[in-house]
């Protein structure tokens, strides 16, 4: 809700396309970096999110569809309990990270810090697009995520989060959707994102 980092209108219009085209490339570099354990110099596409960018209202509740993947048979009781535990952790992380990304850029730094491996975090910060300074009445109209967690170890997960946004920009109602894919792994109780894809799709 605070004021704004400068962002040109042209840049804003071009941003979705640029992001969509480059997200896969970025994610590839990230991945690499994650594989190497060495932070890699991340590429920058689009406008990095500014700490002072306007925040938005979370107008819609989160809807998670989570399922275990990789088991032929049904989960036994113990596995179900482990799945439930990890499902909650993954959901909490996704909710926090995605909300910071698309709704509250001022919180992005902190959200990313603990949630991603360093190389992915560096690139993610530089990749997340800014919301134009002139945008008002920014609101999430739909937030959903499909989550797959690998059974029975529950140590890897793939997430596709979609957040549809609405805002008034220069007097015009504008809608777009953020599609974010996270590849995650768990160390102990902590899940970390090791790679991502990010695209902003005009609606």
């Amino acid at each position: 809700m605070s004021t704004a980092a400068p962002s040109s209108r042209l840049g804003w219009r071009l941003l979705p396309g640029v992001l969509a085209a480059s997200a896969a490339v970025i994610a590839g570099s990230l991945l690499l970096a994650a594989l190497r354990d060495n932070p890699v110099e991340a590429l920058t596409f689009g406008s990095p999110a500014a700490p002072a960018a306007p925040a938005a209202e979370a107008g819609a509740p989160w809807a998670f569809a989570t399922r275990p993947i990789g088991m032929h048979a049904k989960l036994d009781k113990a596995q179900k309990a482990r799945f439930q535990a990890q499902r909650g952790r993954v959901a909490a992380l996704i909710e926090d990270l995605v909300d910071a990304t698309v709704l509250d850029p001022g919180r992005l730094q902190a959200a990313v810090r603990g949630a991603m491996v360093p190389s992915a975090a560096t690139a993610f910060r530089k990749t997340v697009p800014a919301i134009p300074a002139t945008a008002t009445d920014i609101r999430a109209v739909r937030r959903s995520a499909r989550v797959g967690i690998q059974a029975p170890a529950f140590k890897s997960a793939a997430v596709r989060a979609k957040v549809t946004m609405r805002a008034t920009i220069d007097g015009r109602l504008t809608k777009w959707r953020n599609d974010i894919t996270f590849w995650m792994q768990r160390e102990g109780k902590t899940w970390k994102v090791l790679a991502f894809d990010l695209a902003r799709v005009p609606q």
């Binding site: 991945l31 190497r36 993947i69 797959g148 690998q150 140590k155 997960a157 590849w183 090791l194 790679a195």
Partner: protein, 291 residues
Amino acid sequence: MIKRSAALVVVLATLVMATAFTGAPNAAKLLVGRVHASFQPTTGKVYILVIGNDARVGNPTNSRADAIHIMGLNTETMRGGILNFPRDSWVPIPGYGSGKINEALYHGGPDLLARTLENLTGITLDYWVMVGFQDFVSIMRSLGGVTMNVPQAAYDPGGSGARLRAGTQHLKAQQALAYMRTRKAFGGGDVTRTTNQGRFLLALLRKLNRQVGHNPAALLDWIAVTRRYARYDISAEEMFRLGVVATKVKARDIDNVTVPVSVGSVGAASVVFISPSARSLYDRLRQNAAL
């Protein structure tokens, strides 16, 4: 660091096959192995030896390699290359003089085949992955086959069982195996076959990318499928990471090249001799992990 766990097909399908198998090779299984225990992909380049062996019911062990490919992947440029070796290539085999390259598998398993290729190409291989006939079919069945372009009709009912028209089509498990095996249907024989195997790998990669693009959790499904038919010595975490890398690589950015050869014979054996010009391919793959 290396743990026995799960996830082989990811690799196969993704082309980023990887893993280390330190036990005795079981030729009837899809195996993934790490060639050098110290491997860390610090250079941004990954090399995987892909082996298809002729293990089947009635011949579960002592198999020879029917498919031999080095896959390079440059994780910085996200480009790659598949270098195909005809199985009858006459090469030096460490400890065994010279012989057909597919004999290296018989003499010393994937490790010896990897060493043979390392000596030949100067490329340090990171992983190997191996699959036999039966498990290939099981994996393909579970994955639902693959759609690919077959550039040349293949009719070989008495040999591989291939009955394929030219053009884009969906190959079911048995058809896929027949396509991977058939050589008599082509004038180019084994050379055409090995090129076709590279095409098949790329078709698998396209399928993985398509499915993951729709739903990223599909990668976990692929890993699970391989777990059912594979043994490997790589951690699930590492396999997952390699699988994710594979989902980022586009098949169109991977070149599929067969080493240039000339036909000849050694004694009574019909062999092919790899042309000295192949050296430039080795150099390119070593320097760029792409062709």
